[in-house]
Symmetry: C2
Subunit: 413 residues, 2 copies
DNA sequence: CACGTTTGTTAGTAAACCTTACGAACAAAC
DNA sequence: GTTTGTTCGTAAGGTTTACTAACAAACGTG
């Protein structure tokens, strides 16, 4: 192993080498949940004992990751595996540098004192990149727990096509230079349609079509790279703080997009365009003209530039202006509720999360959305539906990108 | 084994005994896809080699089931497992009576002639029951290939509550008496909200709330019983003929419901009420009053009684009446499209299926739905969306119920 | 008829997890 | 201070699973 390897990659060449991609999905996906297309009925693959091992390895890692330092015996009880098997798996994980022993447990209990073990949370860093903002590409060095360690950003200056790719390149390079800890992988949230191989099929804002971002960066930096749509990445971050298996994230910024997790698994969609609801028409009474040619698209009601422009037009001073601003926000919320109602109804969602500028979303808009949803769906079925603001604020894509890498590389989230 | 067992049940006491329910889901669900709640992230279970075995067993069965008679070597090539392993698995399946040898292959090829094997398609029958119609409970004895062997029905006579349960009892009893072949299990599609344990949480039309249908019937008939919502059952039947992993079924009858498969897995929803879209409000221009208290619910536009009443009011004779009838159907289709647009957009669905009276649905209504969907979603993302009529006609729930049993008991569909 | 091909089985091996058993280390009770 | 019971981690041995290697049987082909 060279010094570069030691600095940049995990100890093993491949932390989770999927012998058969299909089987690895079967086993790892329910624990993790990357955006690889879940192959289903017809061509399902075989499962070998070694795949079971891979799954159990991830299970141990997940247990430690989410419950923190504990003894091998604790992990055994939690997972249902025997102490013997846990010892074996943990030994392998320690050899790989993913788990460390922390010494003996302090508290006074009968019996032999436990040796605490934990995921070595300082062992790796993750590079997260957010390409969803219009003016700037943001990136961060993220710790295994999701904490932001270093930030960096690079002005986009309306760069498109190859120039934009080079900016991403430069940003990642700068971020890598900022950490001396081995890097587990690079996670990128991009606008547009991204396929499971990390090819940006189409991102009009960036002038990208069929840009093999994952391949290019993986080659350039010799690290695992995961790329997905920004909203789909965002919902991963939100999923961490939520205990629901069904989750819809509405990401409102320059455009409007959604990320969706159903049954604990991210939804990608037949054409990899799941969540692209910005250009769904709302209501049956027309609406503002949209750049896409239609009228009354969700974006025309809800996109931040539209909202701010409309609020500015309503004026800043006086009671009448305040009331007008409230009406604007309320109407936007109502429109969102109208689009969400069929989705919430069809999927019987238990949680919807809003992400975007809190000063716009977290007030009359939020209230109106809740209100509209209640009025337009069957209350009996959707009684426990929660609509809440994101807890991740601005960093939702960065942290989601980290979660994506964590999922993809370690089967942990 | 008693004679009754031999006649009613599979040869083994439990064809697919899930040692750990969670692990069985992990392994069998992608192949099968029952309506058991897919447990996800946090409490994922261990996977033992024996679970891998269970999965591979189902894989062999699935291969034989869908590709028909073939040699062990063929199955080995298809699944990626070795001939040795396949021989072993097949031996077990033959011992269980699920697979039979058909003699040597006829065609002339070099090498030792192959012994053909196949699922013993005559080994079991399945009881399918459809409780979704308003006036009658329908049932059938269904073959493993989904063919209807015997039919029966029982007039509901507005029975509700316990009386309705007893009718189901009687219907199943009569169906069981009609076959002397061992029965693999009983599948039931019920209106309302059904939880994964087969408890009908709420079915207003039948006056049911928290009726433990699965438990009662399983006890009464000593057979595996699977119960789910009628539309959710229906989509299973449709999934067989479709090669898509994402599928939405809209079932239009006395009410309007939907069944949804995403990533090859049925969607149940947080409150087990996924697909309950009948009372989602359509559009922003009001609409007919609904029994639920709201106005403009999807059902008020689309439910068969409403449609037929409106068509009758338009008159039967003359060109003007025909045009008015067309308008009514077109408006209904448009309303359906309005509700579907956000769902299709959010999930990037590739296939939507309509089930119900073809004379109402398969014409102007269908056209208007397609048209509306196209006008209200982003064409670029949903280019390959197909909206088609069901191929199952009236038997969709019966056959879906059979698929559900097949899935649940054998991991096959 | 020799040869290559294909099938299905036998025998042995490797991996994974289990059960059983044990030593070490501790608290609590006597 | 000793005994008792508990808990932890490990060792040894067994079972299950699927693999590789090898082979006999049965067939077409040249």
């Amino acid at each position: 192993m060279t010094a570069t390897d030691a600095q940049r990659g995990p100890v093993t060449t491949e932390p989770t080498p999927p012998t058969s991609p299909v089987a690895s999905e079967l086993l790892a996906a329910p624990v993790a949940g990357t955006f690889s297309r879940s192959r289903a009925l017809r061509p399902t693959g075989k499962v070998l004992p070694e795949h079971a091992r891979t799954h159990n390895r991830a299970l141990v890692l997940q247990t430690l990751y989410s419950a923190g330092p504990q003894s091998r015996a604790d992990v055994a009880r939690e997972t249902g595996l025997t102490r013997v098997t846990i010892s074996d798996l943990v030994a392998a994980l320690i050899a790989e540098g993913l788990v460390i022993e922390l010494g003996q447990r302090e508290d006074a209990r009968p019996g032999k004192p436990a040796t605490l073990i934990d995921v070595d949370r300082g062992a790796f860093h993750i590079i997260g990149v957010d390409l969803s903002e219009h003016e700037v590409f943001r990136g961060a060095v993220v710790g295994l727990d999701g904490q932001i360690i270093e930030r960096d950003e690079i002005a986009r200056d309306a760069a498109t096509g190859e120039a934009a790719v080079l900016l991403v390149d430069r940003l990642v390079e700068r971020l890598l230079a900022r950490t001396s800890t081995p890097v587990l992988g690079i996670g990128i949230g991009s606008p547009g349609v991204v396929d499971p191989l990390g090819v940006v099929r189409s991102a009009p804002n960036l002038g990208w079509s069929d840009v093999a971002l994952q391949e290019r960066l993986a080659e350039r930096f010799a690290l695992p790279v995961h790329v997905a749509n920004d909203a789909n990445v965002g919902v991963l971050a939100e999923h961490g703080s939520s205990h629901h298996d069904d989750l819809l994230l509405i990401k409102i910024g320059h455009g409007v997009g959604a990320g969706l997790i159903i049954g604990g698994r991210p939804v990608v969609g037949g054409g990899f365009a799941a969540g692209e609801i910005g250009h769904v028409v709302v209501g049956t009474d027309g609406g503002p003209r949209c750049a896409c040619g239609k009228a009354g698209c969700l974006e025309t009601w809800l996109a931040v530039p539209r909202l701010t422009a409309r609020l500015a037009a309503a004026g800043a001073q006086g009671e009448a202006a305040a009331s007008a601003r409230d009406d604007i926000l309320r109407e936007a919320g109502r429109r969102l509720g109208i689009v969400l109602a069929p989705v919430v109804g069809a999927l019987n969602l238990s949680e919807v999360v809003l992400s975007g500028p809190a000063e716009l979303l977290d007030g009359p808009l939020h209230e109106a959305t809740v209100d509209t949803l209640r009025k337009r769906t069957m209350a009996e079925f959707n009684r426990d539906l929660r609509l809440r603001m994101s807890e991740q604020a601005e960093d939702i894509v960065l942290r989601g990108a980290a979660v994506m890498v964590l999922s993809g590389q370690l089967g942990v989230s």
